[in-house]
Homo-oligomer: 347 residues x 2
């Protein structure tokens, strides 16, 4: 039965998605295939986590009230809908998360699906901060669970069943009320957030601006590429566009290729105004293959020469990047944060 006939779906799909102008870009998107393919033992927890992280998800905040009325909440992407009749959903909670006993015993809880402008809320509820709810706009649901305002959807549930599953519990809830609205959801995958709608809008808008920097945070095994700046004394992220010349994705790609690297550019990391130059800046996240760059070097956080990084905007981006790497790159193990699995992956 294992015929291995040519996959008929693939060619059909390619016919739809590759007009002439897309081909070189498509190549870049699909690079690196050979170099990082792995066939691994499931006890390799780090590789397993990376592999689990290939599954795209939305981002939720799970909330409930303690017996004394204190609101509790944590960020999770291990959510799935289960059944329509009766209406059931589930979420996984780490057994070592401090809030686990509260959620395991609470009669009700709520699932809040975040929209693409709520990335910071995701970080807040994945953190150890103790004033999460003070810093968040929320209200009580019909069954008294905390509902985050302006989310894509919320579901308030009664506890239906708790299933023991390895180092997690599976909390199954029966939906007793819900609401949804036409907002675009925040996405998470492959170690980073993405915002389908914002990303489309940004890149569409980018052709109308003449003072644009297009750069990339290029990572490899937790290390980030820095290249010499124009003076040769400092370091910068690889980028295109400066001094009145507008950058472009094409130029950025050329530059990375000139360094002898193959880089898969993924989601946008940031879109902002450079407070020093007034230029507008779009930075992508990228992953490099194992080749040695002809200029520049990859640096781990501990070895990062902060004083040599000449662009203040890039410095802030790197701070945020490594903070997210330490705090938020958890596809599976987002948790309460107070005592959850917040241990850094890569350093």
């Amino acid at each position: 039965m294992n015929t291995n006939t040519l996959c008929s779906a693939q060619p059909r799909d390619i016919a739809v998605y590759t007009p002439a102008f897309l081909r070189p870009i498509d190549y870049t998107c699909r690079s690196l295939t050979h170099s990082t393919s792995t066939f691994l033992d499931p006890t390799n927890a780090r590789e397993l986590r990376n592999a689990f992280g290939r599954f795209l998800t939305g981002v939720t905040i799970i909330t409930c009230k303690e017996a004394d009325g204190t609101p509790r909440g944590f960020t999770a992407n291990s959510f799935t809908s289960v059944s329509l009749d009766p209406p059931l959903l589930l979420v996984c909670i780490g057994k070592t998360a401090e809030s686990r006993p509260v959620f395991e015993t609470s009669t009700h809880f709520a699932v809040n699906i975040l929209c693409e402008t709520q990335k910071d809320l995701s970080g807040l509820f994945a953190s150890k901060d103790t004033d999460k709810f003070d810093r968040t706009s929320w209200r009580d649901g019909p069954q008294n669970s905390p509902l985050i305002n302006d989310v894509v959807a919320w579901f308030e549930c009664s506890r239906h069943q708790v299933v023991d599953a390895g180092d997690h519990i599976i909390l199954i809830g029966r939906v007793c009320g819900f609401e949804h609205q036409e907002l675009h959801p925040l996405g998470y995958g492959h170690g980073g957030y993405f915002s389908p709608c914002i990303e489309q809008a940004v890149v569409n808008a980018s052709d109308t601006h003449s003072n644009l920097v297009v750069g990339a945070i290029v990572e490899r095994n937790g290390e980030v590429l820095l290249v010499p700046d124009d003076s040769g004394d400092g370091l910068r992220l690889p980028h295109s566009g400066e001094g009145g010349h507008s950058g472009s994705l094409r130029n950025l790609r050329q530059q990375l290729s000139d360094l002898g690297l193959r880089v898969a550019l993924g989601f946008l990391f940031t879109v902002e105004e450079d407070s020093d130059t007034g230029a507008q800046a779009i930075y992508y996240r990228g992953e490099a293959n194992e080749a040695s760059p002809s200029r520049g070097e990859f640096y781990a956080l501990a070895a990062l020469p902060w004083d040599k990084i000449t662009d203040a905007n890039e410095k802030r981006m790197l701070e945020r990047y490594f903070a997210e790497l330490a705090r938020q790159r958890f596809n599976v193990y987002f948790s309460d944060g107070r005592q959850g699995h917040m241990d850094p992956v890569d350093h």
Copy 2:
């Protein structure tokens, strides 16, 4: 405790994401908020399904072998990773799916996470086709489960536990082998597929082309908007760019606004070459509010005046759109297909 203080995360996030050129676009992304907000009873299955569908997911194909060696598989997005130690994952299967008994009793099964060029495979394994595996490139895994080639990741599992959950079973597997590679995953959410990497590449490339059509399939309650074509006798999808004039997203938005509609443009629906004109075409999916358009009309599939649709490319797109609406807009209830929940949502 319900302080409802201003959400601190929101302003911080906006500071990052809204340089001057983004503001009008951001507005469009977040429109329709007020008009479709609903507060609903969980026994309203259709609304609940729509709300569940707000959660972004990847797309998987779940596979196993029957006792006689026949490969079985179905498309699912109700997957989540569960535990690292021991390594566990889960997937939900509808009780009425024909393949449920096979998966419920099989000693092993595999989860294949699709990449963004495998949209057609997703459709194939959500269909009733009986030759799915003949039309797919696959191989046997270490434990004999069918592994789809060129996926982002696969996990082969032994059956760990089966949990009864409403109209579904939760199949928990213990990972016994896996592999992943640097491909971009296919996404699914809000009733449609999306491809974060391809979409970024497309819109970046769009500024280098002078003969570009930018259009939209604008839906409302299962009906699609058509407007009079230039001759006034035929109908077309709203679009910008034609006859040597290049379209743009901005012009498309202006046109929709001129019709008196507020439209939230979401994921790309298609990127292709118009076989008649040679123009390159990018069409978005959009959702309209309840206002009456000043020109044109919304049509359900059954009422669609196919003979009046003058653009062959748009006709094909509409055929595909309604086919996907009927067959694939299932956020929760993708299933085996042979006897699964393939009943259309909207007509």
